[in-house]
């Protein structure tokens, strides 16, 4: 694939839409879970806040922080995909997403709930950018596992 086609393949329309939409961006003040993530490669930081519903499921997820198209769009997709899920289901979706990003599983085998995450498949060919895509997912998983305040750092 040559440069131009590769640029469009990496930054798919759907990804740019998520980046631009600002959906799920923000901070929940009285959050049940809080998680802070950092990507040491670029120094970008991400704050994820979550609110539980009466059924114990994740009712609301918000992300805050400055980042590239890939990390911001991935954060929005993560929030959209995990809202309404139980903690257990959310964690298994995170694993499924990471398996796809790390090329352990094909994008076609992603669960239906992660349909939107297929827009990130192009990132897999850019090893230096995979961490931009996984940061939000690793950070949220950390928050869910810790059930409180947590810190996550992508391995450098």
């Amino acid at each position: 694939m040559e440069g131009d086609a590769e640029l469009r393949n990496l930054y798919q329309e759907a990804l740019l839409d998520y980046y631009q939409s600002g959906a799920h961006k923000g901070k929940i003040s009285a959050s049940d879970f809080y998680s802070h993530g950092i990507n040491p490669v670029c120094g970008d930081e991400l704050e994820i806040t979550m609110k539980k519903g009466g059924d114990g499921n994740i009712a609301q997820i918000r992300y805050a922080g400055h980042g590239c198209v890939i990390s911001q769009a991935s954060s929005a997709i993560m929030a959209e995909s995990l809202e309404g899920k139980s903690v257990q289901d959310a964690l298994s979706l995170v694993s499924a997403f990471k398996d796809m990003m790390l090329s352990k599983a094909a994008p076609e085998s992603l669960p239906e709930d992660l349909e939107a995450a297929k827009a990130l498949e192009g990132v897999r060919r850019f090893p230096t950018r995979i961490k931009c895509a996984t940061l939000a997912w690793n950070t949220v998983a950390q928050g869910l596992s810790a059930r409180g305040k947590s810190e996550f750092k992508e391995g450098a």
Partner: protein, 413 residues
């Protein structure tokens, strides 16, 4: 004038393609490419002379030792250092600074002392001093950076006090391209009795260095940013300081005599070079210094200044781009650090890469400085002797294309 066409023939890597486009290598401030002559010197060492230094009583060991000695002599000449023994070989600039912090700092810096740095230091000229300051209870102070990315020289005299033990500063900023007034800063430090360390990592590849006339106490740089191999750094220090400093790492080669109870250190500079050094890299660095001297700093500077001038013109015509650092071409080297409005530097880096244009993107190991400039990071193009005017135009092309690609009508769904 540089014969760039001929120079490029010495760098086979420059004729490769990336993502189907010709490579435009503009990440020279991170590391430069190596000419055939340097690669050949590496191969020749391993194919003809490979042996350990200072130990074997055999021909190959003598040859390896001679190559290492020659590299030290050549490096000393390059720096206008008084003696080859004032040149210590390390792994890189970072290790050279850590050596000074460890061997000089731990001995001569005490609680309450001050170390003066600048706000534009690379993490490698910041973190070792933070570690030392924490251990000793010393205080770090910083010469501020102005809005246009220069050192606030008016503030500097007030920051040097009777407690200042060391003024450590970069000669040329890796993040902004700013060229600092090295002799003036050294003179100021000396007038207050402080020692000086010059981080010349971004200086030695582009400008003549004269430690004798500068009269600095320490000067550090890396071979790989000036066409030499990776894995070789240099520490120049005044002989009396090297004599007074404690050894760095312990082990073979740095000792004169060892008993069960203790050791006596070897003479300078070997006392700081424990273990088998990077002999092949030293031999190849000689070839890099020869290459640089054939090109000549005057011609090199003229060439880089022309490329930088054109790059700055291109950026100036581009309202969506912000360039950091001094506006006057004379105050900056061949580095253009920039952002495209609304586009994260890493997206810029990837989009440029897909055009074949290699630039650095991120905080450039200067996180506090980025905070000072109120940016998360920047993208950075940096030039060297083999870059062409066409490549600067390709940089402009990538800039226009990237800005257009990421600029989408607001609210599109």
């Amino acid at each position: 004038m540089l014969d760039v066409r001929r120079i490029r023939e010495d760098f086979p890597i420059l004729s490769r393609t990336v993502h189907g486009k010709p490579l435009v290598y503009l990440d020279n401030a991170a590391t430069t490419q190596k000419p055939r002559q340097v690669v050949a010197a590496l191969a020749e060492f391993y194919e003809r002379h490979n042996a350990n230094v200072h130990r074997g009583v055999h021909t190959l060991s003598d040859e390896a030792t001679a190559l290492m000695d020659a590299a030290r002599r050549k490096t000393a000449e390059f720096l206008h250092a008084p003696k080859p023994e004032t040149v210590v070989f390390t792994r890189n600039t970072t290790e050279s600074i850590n050596l000074v912090a460890h061997s000089w700092g731990r001995k001569f810096v005490s609680a309450g002392d001050e170390i003066l740095l600048t706000e534009m230091e690379h993490h490698s000229n910041l973190v070792p001093w933070q570690m030392l300051a924490k251990e000793k209870g010393a205080r770090l102070r910083f010469i501020p950076v102005t809005e246009d990315g220069r050192l606030d020289l008016a503030a500097a005299p007030g920051l040097i006090t009777a407690k200042t033990k060391l003024v450590a500063f970069t000669a040329a900023s890796n993040a902004l391209g700013t060229l600092n007034p090295v002799p003036g800063l050294i003179a100021l430090a000396k007038s207050r009795g402080a020692r000086t360390l010059v981080d010349a990592a971004q200086w030695t590849p582009h400008y003549p260095t004269d430690v004798a006339s500068w009269d600095c106490d320490f000067l550090v740089f890396s071979a790989h940013k000036m066409m030499g191999p990776t894995g070789l750094g240099v520490l120049y220090a005044k002989e009396e300081l090297l004599e007074a400093m404690d050894p760095f790492l312990g082990g073979g080669d740095m000792i004169e005599r060892v008993s069960w109870e203790g050791f006596t250190p070897n003479v300078v500079p070997y006392k700081f070079e424990a273990g088998t050094p990077n002999i092949a890299a030293a031999a190849a660095f000689s070839a890099a210094l020869d290459y640089l001297s054939r090109a000549g700093f005057a011609a090199l500077h003229e060439h880089e200044a022309a490329l930088t001038k054109r790059a700055l013109e291109i950026f100036a015509e581009f309202p969506a781009a912000t360039v950091y650092g001094p506006k006057e071409p004379g105050a900056r080297g061949g580095i253009v650090s920039f952002n495209i409005e609304g586009v994260h530097p890493h997206d810029v880096g990837t989009a440029f890469d897909l055009e074949g244009v290699a630039v650095r993107a991120g905080h450039h190991c200067c996180q506090p400085l980025m905070g000072r400039l109120k940016v998360g990071g920047t993208a950075r193009a940096s030039f060297y002797l083999y870059n062409t005017m066409n490549e600067v135009e390709a940089l402009g092309g990538a800039l226009a294309k990237t800005a257009a690609f990421f600029k989408r009508p607001a609210g599109v769904k």
